[in-house]
Symmetry: C2
Subunit: 405 residues, 2 copies
Amino acid sequence: MITHQSVPRPADVADVRTTNLVVVLRFVRAHSPCSRADIAAATGLNKATVSSLVTDLLDRRLLRETGVTENRIGRPATMLVVDGSPYAAVGMEINADYLAAVAVDVGGRRLLSWRRAFDGTGGPARGTAALAALARRVVARLSADGRRVLGVTVGVPGLVDAAGVVRVAPNLGWHDVDLRADLHRALGGAVDVLVDNDANLGVAAEHRYGPHAGTPDLVYLTGEVGIGAGIIAGGRPLRGFRGYSGEIGHVPVVPDGPRCGCGRRGCLESVVGLAALIGAAGDGPPPTPEHLTTAVDDLATRAGAGDRQVLAALELSGTRLGLGLSVLANLLNPEKIVLGGYYVPLAPWLLPAARAELGSGVLAPDAGGAVLTASTLGHSAAALGGAARVLDLVDAGRIPLLDPA
Amino acid sequence: MITHQSVPRPADVADVRTTNLVVVLRFVRAHSPCSRADIAAATGLNKATVSSLVTDLLDRRLLRETGVTENRIGRPATMLVVDGSPYAAVGMEINADYLAAVAVDVGGRRLLSWRRAFDGTGGPARGTAALAALARRVVARLSADGRRVLGVTVGVPGLVDAAGVVRVAPNLGWHDVDLRADLHRALGGAVDVLVDNDANLGVAAEHRYGPHAGTPDLVYLTGEVGIGAGIIAGGRPLRGFRGYSGEIGHVPVVPDGPRCGCGRRGCLESVVGLAALIGAAGDGPPPTPEHLTTAVDDLATRAGAGDRQVLAALELSGTRLGLGLSVLANLLNPEKIVLGGYYVPLAPWLLPAARAELGSGVLAPDAGGAVLTASTLGHSAAALGGAARVLDLVDAGRIPLLDPA
DNA sequence: CGAATTAGTTTAGACTCCCAACTTAAGTCG
DNA sequence: CGACTTAAGTTGGGAGTCTAAACTAATTCG
């Protein structure tokens, strides 16, 4: 029997430095602009230590002095803000019908945001090649701008294990694709590559850029053909034993409902997945994958126009979604649940019923505090989350150093 | 809007020492007996550093030299084992029909294990008083033995918030009882007191003392009148926003099943909770709370004797339990799921069907690796977990110091 | 213009880990 | 039996970190 009684990594004095560099960096990010004295007072670090840390971060161009000083008694303070512009983090996303890439600098500023239509169902070889080509272009562009690329994270709609191998991606038709190694090779081995599930990256994006950024118990729900949850619990991503957490699509919500791909009946996904949503509105045959966006827009338009059938279908779907989410909320007690993907345009009609059901279905009073909202991050949330994931590495202690130029 | 963008605590050189003391302590615990040289080789710490750390731990009597040396070429090694006997951790448990207390030393050795019948439904005042009296006796006994009590953790069947206030404990009839403060006061303010949900402590016990100790993604299921899950994810307890995680009892598993206390139909708890289990075996009126243990024993006896009705009922219950667990496993992807409480004696008949259903109900291949077993910790698992929780504090860096005697 | 106030730097000291040399205590072998 | 080999553990010096206290710097107040 394998014993998991692993021993944590020892620490040394350099780790103290790293920890405190991150403390200062995060403090400035959260309280920008601020002075060295502010940092010392708030963190408890000594003034001298703060000065030393700040000098280090200025050298790395992770901070910048705004020169601006305040106007009150005593010596004026030099204000600090986050810079980070010499470093870039890249996030990418492959889906059944598009590729996306987003780059941000370490200060969090959006550097580029590309999106192109793409038939993701053409097999892993073509998908990987397209991703690699896009990644190379992004990296080349960023390098040309003089930025160092700290890493690339790719989001995939499917099960991804800890090593970055895509185990199953039903909508892409992928099995056991070692995307991480392939991309790493395609980028000349020069850039760190991570691969993760799109829901996990969605929640990473919300955790860094959403209106509730920093919420330590956060859930993000992808609203695509399939439904997946990205979970942050206790401030850290919840990945599970093999990285397969968040498969909420098969919670039973409708007794004797329609048969689901998993073999059971009335699963959340088969009832409030996108196909079901469109089907429930009841106009003819289900749309082909390429026309899902149009179909959703159409649905939203009809709902906005007061179409009774659509309104009723969306309300019912909201209730069922809320039921599924109540199961999740009972298990995880999240603070925020964010709906993403195609749920966003339909949120005005889904949310009221979903919230009501969530409130009544959670055992803890007041739904355990859980608040249900729709994402405001727009399209390519997973790609944005990929970039966020790279920035998380910085926050975890991988403080980048400027090339000796 | 409250921003959660909190900044982590700064580190200093003393934290390095603490971290490394824990590294050495945990290494010895996992690889006892071992030499200083073994520790240095395995952890990467310098020999000199290890010597210094070990000296410190010997002074605190957290380690002990066994004097025993090996028999091979080169200077013989002084072997080290965990001591910890001067320090005691206490766990307690209150339930509808009993009180329990367990004490262990920091080496993990069981010091005492008390259990007494008690009517927990007599209201919070009587329950708190009884717990306090028991705690005082335990602490007095340990002190008389010359042990320093590091802390007491109490398990309660209900929702407990982060401050140790029991929000709701249905089976005890408690609401908003500040048990932590009450007990802390009753113990003269001299001992740290923690309060937690019994399922959370059950999983803490399994995580430290179970056959799969150390498994970072572990779930424990209480099998009492209610069903609750204690969750460890990524090596840390999953508590959720307000500490209300693990409420698995209301996953819908039987379409149009019996009405549950929560108002819906076919909830896991109403279908495979203890009352339902006994009811499904079909002999007369449901037993009163005091006779549940007897009723379960009777069920096990009849199943062992081959009673068709009981066997069929248990198999069906196992299937439904497996269905509920598959929802949990899809969301959390645990490595081990341990059944506790009254499920243990019934496990031989519940497990096969539950495992089959779990295997087919989880989307990830091979149930995502999840293995379902019955607890081997016996009664008072929550109390044992309470003691484990106190020891977790040591592992988190609260290294105890011997009183200057 | 000097006192008060606040920001930030310098310097000395304590603590930690690491490295290299050393001491200690065995077994090995001629 | 004694020199050699092997391995465990200790000692002393060095580098890096934080802290405290003294110091310098820049501004407002009176």
